[in-house]
Symmetry: C2
Subunit: 523 residues, 2 copies
C-alpha cells in the first residue's frame, strides 16, 4: 500500500517523464559475419558493399544478409519488402539484432546461458503476404542486424530502406567540448562513456538497454554523476529519485531496482550498499541542479535508509551480515564484503551529514556524526591490519581492492595513508581484484580522492581503454581483459555491451580529478 | 491484361465469395508427445489430464505443454495469459500447431525438407508485458497445439482458455445421413472424407488448409463432386469456375492453380490433364446444380481448353509430350504419362460433347466427336497391347495402373474389356502403381465404371481404410501403406494431412456406385 505521500511522489515522477529525442539511423555497411580467431569473441565482419547495393537486388530462397549501422542504436526498426512474382508460400523472416558481431554470427538455438534466451534480440515473422513496410514490435539495442529468410522459390523479394528510429532522453547539444589539451586516448574514453550513458538514458536511467532495462539505484548514482557533467538532464534524475521514494515498502525501505511498466513498481530486491547510497545520490542531485527543495522533500527518505542500514551495525560499530540482504559491491563470487559495506555506510553517512548541514538540519547531523565516529573507530580497530597496512574483511581477514577502495572513500584514514592501502593491495597478487566496471569505478574514485591522479588515469586507460581497443561502441556490463568472452551468465551472447555503470570515465574527465593532467576543470 | 469479359467474370466470382461458418473449439486433452516406435510416424500422445487442470496451474520457466483438440480445426487461435509476480524479462513463447503428433513432437529446427519451413506452423512471440488475450496472427490447420515458454524466473504465469475459432464454408446441416444399411468401415470413410472436404472448403476449394492453400483445378473437380452429394454448396463451385475463367491467359488458357490473395491471380503453372478437365468440371456443376446458364456462359472457355490440348495431339491422333506442359496424373516419378493423358483428353472430349448436347450446340458436338473417334482409334492402334491385353505408354511401352484407369474412363474399350485391363494390371507386379490418393480415385472410378463394384469397394477399404486405421482425422495428400512417413518433399512434417483430392470415398458412397453393396442411392 502506498501512502498518500508516496502517491504524490509518484505523480511528480510521472509528470517528469521525458519526451525522447528521435533520430533516424540508416545502416552504413552490408556485411557478412565470419569466424576469425583474431576478432573480438572470435568474429569479424567482412564488408560486402553499401546497403543500397543490397537493396537493389532481388533474392530467391535463403536470403541471409547482415547490416552494420556503423553506430549503436536504441530504438524501433522498420524496413520495406518488395515482391516480384507469385507468392506461393509464406515468408519466414528471422531478424536478429546484436550489440556485437558474435550475436549476429552465432546460432541462438545453441544458447545455453543461465538467463533466459528471451533477452536475445530475435524476431520471427511469418508473412503470408509479404510486402509494404514492416515495423518490428519492440525496442532494440544494437549495432548489427541480420535477416534470414526462408520461403519457396516461386517468387523473389527484396528488402530495402532498413532504418532505426533511435531514441534517447540525452540532449547531445548540452555537452561541452573537452579542452583541446585532452589527449586522444582519453577523448576516446569520453566519447564511448557518453555514448553508453546516452543509450541508457530513456524514460529512466536504465542499467542496460538490451538486457534488464531497469532502474537500479547503484547504477543510477553513477549515471547521474556523469549526466550532471554532460547532458545535464536534471529532470530525469529528479524523476528517478521520486520513483525510488514512491516505491519504498511499508518499512520505508526503497527497492534496489524498479520497473516502469506497465506501471512503476518495486523490483522486490534489496541491496545493502545501494540502500545506503540513496543519501549521496540525493545530495549530488541537489548540488548539481541547485534544486534544494527536492532534497528537503526527500530528506526523510534518505535518512530512513541510513537508519535501516544501521540495524545491521553491531554494538561495536561493525557491519555484520545476518543474511537479510543482498550485498553487492561487485560481481566477484569470492569477495568478502564486510569491510566494503562498512566503507559504503560511513561514506553515505558523511554525505548525508553534508546534506543535513546544507538543509539547515544540524541536530540530525550531530546524530549522524556520532555514528560516523563509531563506525570509523570500529573500522580502524577491527578491520585495519596495522602490520600489512591494509584493511581486511571477514573472519578470514581477506584482503581485497573493494575493501581498500570503499574505506578510502569513507575517509577512515588520512588520504596519504589511504593511498598506501591502495598501493599495498595493488602490490598483493593474492588480493581479490574487481571483476567489473562498477567496482573499478570506485577504485578509480578512491585513487583520485587520495591524490593518486596518475594511477587513476592509468587505470582508466588500462581497463576502459582495453574495451576501447577491442572496438567497444559503449562500455560493458562485464569485462575481464584476460577473457573478453567471460560472462557471469554462462554465455557471452547475453552480456550487456552497453551498461550504464561503466560510463564513468566521462565523470572523471569532466568533473576535475582525471582532468588535472590536461588542465580541464569544471565547476 | 484481362478482357472486359474476364473482368465481369471476376466480379461474379467475388460476389459469390461465401461467408464462413464459425465455431469455437476447445482442446479436449492436455497431453505430452512421446517417442513410440509403434505409434504413427514414431509418436504417441500421453494424456495428462483435462485442459482445465493445466489452466489452473502457474508455471515457472520452461513451460512446455501440448493440447489435443480432439478434432481437426482450421481457424484462428486465441488464449489468455495471466502473470503472478514481477515481470523481470520478456516471455518468449513458441507455439507449434500440428496436424499430426510428429509435428508437435519433433524439432522444426532440424527440418530438412525440400519445401520451405515457412509452411511449418510455428509462431514465436516475444512478449515484453505478457498478459491478457493473445490472438495468433494467422489461420492454422491443426489438431495439436504445443506451447513452449522461456523467460527468467522472477515471475510465474499461466496459460488458459485456449480456443480455436474454426471456419469453413461447408454447411454440415446440408448433409444427408447414410442409409442404415451402410456398414461401419464405410461409414468411417465417409466421415473422414467429409471432414477433409469441410476443412478444405473455405472461400475457395483449397487443396490443403495447412500447405498450399490454393485452388487447383484437378483437386477442385474431385472436391466439387463430393460437395454436390454432401454440403451442396453450388455457389462455391460456381465461384471457382468463374475464377478459373477470369484468370485465363492471353491465349485463353486457364491456369492449373490460382491464388485468392491479395487479389485473385494466376498461379503461372499449367498442367495438361487439369486443363482438359475443365469441361467435365463445368458439366458436372450444371448437372448437380441445374444452373445451365453458367454452363452456357462458360462453354467457350471449356471448348477453348480442349482446342489447346488438341495442339499436342499428333496427326495420328496420339498425345505427344513436347515438353511444353507439366503432365501430372500422379506424383509417381517413374510413370510414363502418354497413355493416361490420352485417356484424360478422350474422357474430357466426351464430357464436353455431353455438355454441348445439353446446351443445344450439336454442330460443335460433331467436331468433338470426330476428335474422340480419332484419338480412340490411335489409342487402340498404338497403345493397346493385344497380346497382354493392357494399354502401354511411351517408347518403353510401360504398363501402369494410370494408363488402364484413364483409358477405361475414356471408354476406349467396352466396359468388360476395360475391366480386363484393370485386372491384368493388378496381376502384374512390375506395373507402375499409384503413389497418391488422386490417382487412386481414378482407379476406383474406373473400376465402378467397368462394373467392378466389389473391387472398387475393396480398394476404398484397403487404401483409404488404412489411413483410417492409422487414426486419420482427414485423408492425406500422400499415403503409401508400406511407409506412413513417405514424403515427396523429403520430410513427413511438411506433408499435408488434410488434402482435398483424397476426399472422394464419400462421392462413391453417396453418388451410387460404391453404395450398391448396401443399397444406398441418391439422385
Amino acid at each position: 500500500m502506498m501512502t498518500t505521500q508516496q502517491k504524490l511522489w509518484l505523480e511528480k515522477a510521472e509528470a517528469l517523464k521525458p519526451t525522447l529525442f528521435r533520430r533516424t539511423v540508416k545502416p552504413r555497411h552490408w556485411v557478412r559475419p565470419e569466424r576469425d580467431a583474431q576478432g573480438f569473441q572470435g568474429w569479424r565482419l567482412a564488408t560486402l558493399g553499401p546497403p543500397e547495393e543490397f537493396y537493389a537486388r532481388y533474392h530467391r530462397r535463403d536470403l541471409d544478409a547482415t547490416f552494420d549501422f556503423g553506430e549503436y542504436c536504441v530504438g524501433q526498426v522498420r524496413f520495406e519488402i518488395e515482391v516480384a512474382g507469385t507468392i506461393d508460400s509464406p515468408l519466414r523472416l528471422q531478424i536478429k539484432l546484436g550489440e556485437t558481431p558474435a550475436e549476429v554470427g552465432e546460432d541462438f538455438n545453441q544458447y545455453q546461458g543461465t538467463l533466459s534466451r528471451s533477452w536475445l534480440q530475435e524476431e520471427i515473422l511469418n508473412l503470408e503476404r509479404p510486402g509494404a513496410v514492416i515495423r518490428l514490435p519492440r525496442r532494440y539495442a544494437f549495432r548489427y542486424l541480420r535477416f534470414h529468410a526462408e520461403y519457396d522459390a516461386g517468387y523473389q523479394f527484396r528488402i530495402k530502406n532498413v532504418v532505426c528510429d533511435a531514441v534517447t532522453s540525452a540532449d547531445l547539444a548540452a555537452v561541452s567540448p573537452l579542452p583541446a589539451s585532452c589527449p586522444e586516448p582519453l577523448r576516446d574514453l569520453d566519447r564511448i562513456s557518453l555514448n553508453t550513458l546516452k543509450n541508457c538514458m530513456q524514460t529512466v536511467f536504465e542499467d542496460g538497454p538490451k538486457r534488464d532495462r531497469r532502474l537500479w539505484l547503484g547504477d543510477f548514482r553513477l549515471q547521474a554523476l556523469v549526466n550532471y557533467h554532460s547532458f545535464k538532464n536534471y529532470g530525469l534524475a529528479k524523476r528517478c529519485l521520486y520513483l525510488f521514494a514512491a516505491l519504498a515498502d511499508e518499512h520505508g525501505r526503497i527497492p534496489a531496482c524498479l520497473y516502469e511498466r506497465p506501471q512503476p513498481h518495486n523490483g522486490n530486491s534489496h541491496i545493502y550498499d545501494y540502500t545506503a547510497l540513496f543519501a549521496p545520490t540525493l545530495l549530488e542531485y541537489a548540488q548539481a541542479s541547485g534544486d534544494w527543495d527536492t532534497a528537503a522533500e526527500l530528506w526523510p527518505v534518505a535518512v530512513r535508509q541510513l537508519d535501516i542500514v544501521q540495524e545491521d551495525i553491531d554494538e561495536t560499530g561493525l557491519f555484520q551480515d545476518r543474511g537479510k540482504w543482498w550485498l553487492f559491491i561487485d560481481w566477484s563470487s569470492g569477495l568478502d564484503r564486510q569491510a566494503a559495506e562498512q566503507g559504503v555506510v560511513i561514506f553515505s553517512l558523511k554525505k548525508a551529514c553534508e546534506l543535513a548541514r546544507a538543509l539547515g538540519r544540524e541536530p540530525e547531523c550531530a546524530v549522524l556524526e556520532r555514528r560516523i565516529a563509531h563506525l570509523s573507530r570500529a573500522a580502524m580497530e577491527q578491520l585495519f591490519d596495522a602490520g600489512r597496512q591494509v584493511f581486511v574483511s571477514g573472519k578470514e581477514r581477506q584482503v581485497s581492492w573493494a575493501s581498500q577502495a570503499w574505506l578510502a572513500l569513507a575517509g577512515v584514514l588520512p588520504p596519504d595513508a589511504a593511498a598506501g592501502t591502495l598501493r599495498a593491495v595493488a602490490a598483493t597478487p593474492a588480493a581479490v581484484k574487481p571483476v567489473g566496471p562498477y567496482l573499478y569505478h570506485y577504485v578509480v574514485e578512491a585513487m583520485f580522492a587520495c591524490g593518486m591522479a596518475a594511477e587513476g588515469r592509468a587505470l582508466l586507460l588500462d581497463y576502459w581503454g582495453a574495451m576501447a581497443k577491442l572496438g567497444a561502441d559503449n562500455f560493458w556490463e562485464v569485462f575481464d581483459p584476460q577473457d573478453p568472452s567471460l560472462s557471469p551468465y554462462g554465455s557471452h551472447l547475453i552480456n550487456s555491451y552497453c551498461h550504464a555503470w561503466s560510463c564513468t570515465p566521462s565523470y572523471f574527465l569532466r568533473s576535475g580529478p582525471a582532468a588535472h593532467g590536461f588542465g580541464a576543470r569544471q565547476s
